[in-house]
Symmetry: C2
Subunit: 496 residues, 2 copies
Amino acid sequence: MSDSYARLLARSREIALLGSAAHLLHWDAETLQPKAGVAFRAEQFAYFGGATHRLFTAPEVGGWISDCEAAGYAPDSTEAANVRGWRREYDRATRLPQELVEAHERSKGLAREAWIEARRRSDFAHFQPHLEILFGQAREMADHWGWQGSRYNALLDAYEPGADVAQIRAIFDAFRPQLREILPAALAKSAAAPRLEGEFPVEGQIKFNAEVARAVGFDFEAGRIDASTHPFCSRIAPGDTRLTTRYDIHHFASSLFSVLHEAGHGMYEQGVPEGDAYGTPMGSAVSLGIHESQSRLWENLVGRAPEFWEHWFPRAAEHLPALRRYTPAEVCASVNRVEPSFIRVEADQVTYDFHIMLRFEIERRLLDGELALADVPAVWNEEFERSLGLKVPDDAHGCLQDIHWSAGLIGYFPTYTLGNLNAAQLFARARAEEPAIDAELARGDYARLLGWMRRKIHARGSALLPMDLMREATGAPTGVEAQVALLRAKFGLAAS
Amino acid sequence: MSDSYARLLARSREIALLGSAAHLLHWDAETLQPKAGVAFRAEQFAYFGGATHRLFTAPEVGGWISDCEAAGYAPDSTEAANVRGWRREYDRATRLPQELVEAHERSKGLAREAWIEARRRSDFAHFQPHLEILFGQAREMADHWGWQGSRYNALLDAYEPGADVAQIRAIFDAFRPQLREILPAALAKSAAAPRLEGEFPVEGQIKFNAEVARAVGFDFEAGRIDASTHPFCSRIAPGDTRLTTRYDIHHFASSLFSVLHEAGHGMYEQGVPEGDAYGTPMGSAVSLGIHESQSRLWENLVGRAPEFWEHWFPRAAEHLPALRRYTPAEVCASVNRVEPSFIRVEADQVTYDFHIMLRFEIERRLLDGELALADVPAVWNEEFERSLGLKVPDDAHGCLQDIHWSAGLIGYFPTYTLGNLNAAQLFARARAEEPAIDAELARGDYARLLGWMRRKIHARGSALLPMDLMREATGAPTGVEAQVALLRAKFGLAAS
């Protein structure tokens, strides 16, 4: 190992030690932190963001990376993958001024409570000043990074390396008409699905969710499940990956599918190389579009399949006795109901991506200066009605619904649709390569499917750009075919 | 404000931003952290301990302190108090080698799991290798700090500035015969006390505990209560002070009195100056003996008084219906039962301090090389039987019972007895100065008593050494008289 490479590993380790504490500070802010602690916590986010940025952007780091680039590591080696990742991150990070990084962290730390309050009161104006700051900072960052065509490209690249607006639009344009064609059949099939009634005590939900999460492969020795306003997954540290969900005694499916979704993220995090690799590119998930493929796989493709409910119904009914009056098929039909609705995270498999397309264009217009923040509620409501045929009753059910902007996650939403498409494409390939998977899923054995994902996706860390990883794993970059085929089959349409 | 003073404040702030994250890492390790995260967390403790030590012991810090000492701040000013505190801490910290500080943090991070496992298996040998390391480091630290008479003095001074073995022994020697005289009367009175039977569901305990904690003055906007193996209190940050307790459905009193105890610590932490003072000596609790006075006040002097149970019994019985078959007087008698027992944290007000005296001498002998760690179980059991007349059945009920050694808290135990004595002395003084307190306590109004503690103790931060603070607040240094008077009255003995 060259000296420069060893120094990069050591610097990565130091950043990881600090960064892991910041992950815990963030996780805690979402789950437990008392209100009066918010202001100091925002200072801490600024401090930690600033400290890790300073450590990584120090001039010597650039020198070490250059040394390693000259060292001629074999392109498919761990060393070469790390050096490529560090170069990419270093060139992005060094373009941002230290003060902007710190100010952005502080602004995010303060925006969260304002968003919660604004959503509670359905009062966009209460949140708008924070949004002005956060979008201002996002524009500034994009300009520092540099962009062509749209500022959106510079931001999207942080979440989905290599992706751009043109590519996303091409995917959306291919996907939209297919979804429009599937929707009537899906609505027709959903008309007969029952709505599950009764009370599902939280303790029963907690036990059933944990049993399912353990069965699909989430490791509780190295993780846990807690409650939060918005379900999420965070790897705090090696050996410590945490999921959250939320409970509604009238809707057990809400907490269950959040757990399956977040467990998908969690198993990815539990599957990337750890130990010394923690904090290096090879020890990190590659992109959000790949991340979301893992969550949607377990949530929708495994958890909403008829064989899942044939297998799990008896356990579900034991933990949640109100289910006993239904059949497994009725429960399955219910959790597959397709119906336009206001809240993205509760949307079904067919209408979900319309939410993403809507949000994508609004964000892009905001970033490119074609839309003012004050006009967002009106534009949102108008376009939502045009897309999904529903009149938005208030901003809490509209443009205030999602946590992302308050967390500075701007330029992020298209990765959800990429995730849906990647999930279907990976699932199809895994089943083709390992035909035993179908019979195993039917009996609640998930090891082979998870093992395939471990090898093809998790263990690869950030060795490749996401599109190249999809090519390596499935033979093709992200496309709409697998997801369209899956939805058409699900709703009784002939292959297109 | 002088430049040097401003620089010290800024450095304190930076250390506080890092230190507060370390507090959360520690709190999390005690409450939530999954097992597989232990090794990395220990690395983090070493990193954070090392980073804060390096920031504080930098040569420029010594220069700034010297500048401030020459600046002639008025002795009773905040500035002078901070400068005295910084000087004290700086002179101690700079004597420790950086590597020892980091190694000690790492060792503590690894010892905790070993102690839990050793206690579970009641297997001292499993924990002994960690103890060898931790006591070795403690001896090394004491030798770096320097000491006269006993190494114990150097360690005790970290927890109770200004205290030493001679003073502790003098207090114990005055206290022991008084407790021996009180014990028979207390045992006799306890013979008639009922044992509370029935089941007390955890949800009821949680609700009742929270109601009581809020009533005595713990601020839930700036704090929370969680569960942990060992109850403790930690101020994570300004506006964020957390208590923990543990639940046993057969013993509601265990969780309640832990909450009252930890709420006492918590209200102290919520009462010291915050804002810019956070992380400075004036924004910090002064010592563990003063800290423990606040916890024992609310736990024993308020919470075990007959008027507490007259007032709270109806609410308790509402949350915990199994109490309905008892009278308030029976509940009060039950929670005041005096009876020699194995576990310190569950010991009554009369036998508790015998546990402390025993542990104190064993620790001192270990530090001064008069006792080998391998001999601790035998010595512990022998001396325990001599002191409390009980044969220790296993090490889990003996020398493995407490978390302290695993957390590197060596030289700490006498502060518990100081706390008992300080609590009685402060309570007596508060009631003498504010006679309305008694009637208010009887009707569940705790504001005046808390207000007195806020002014006399909490707001004073670390302005004075603890013995001087006791003199200022009560007119005398810590003594045994108030506690002896209180116990004699409680168990029907004439004043001595």
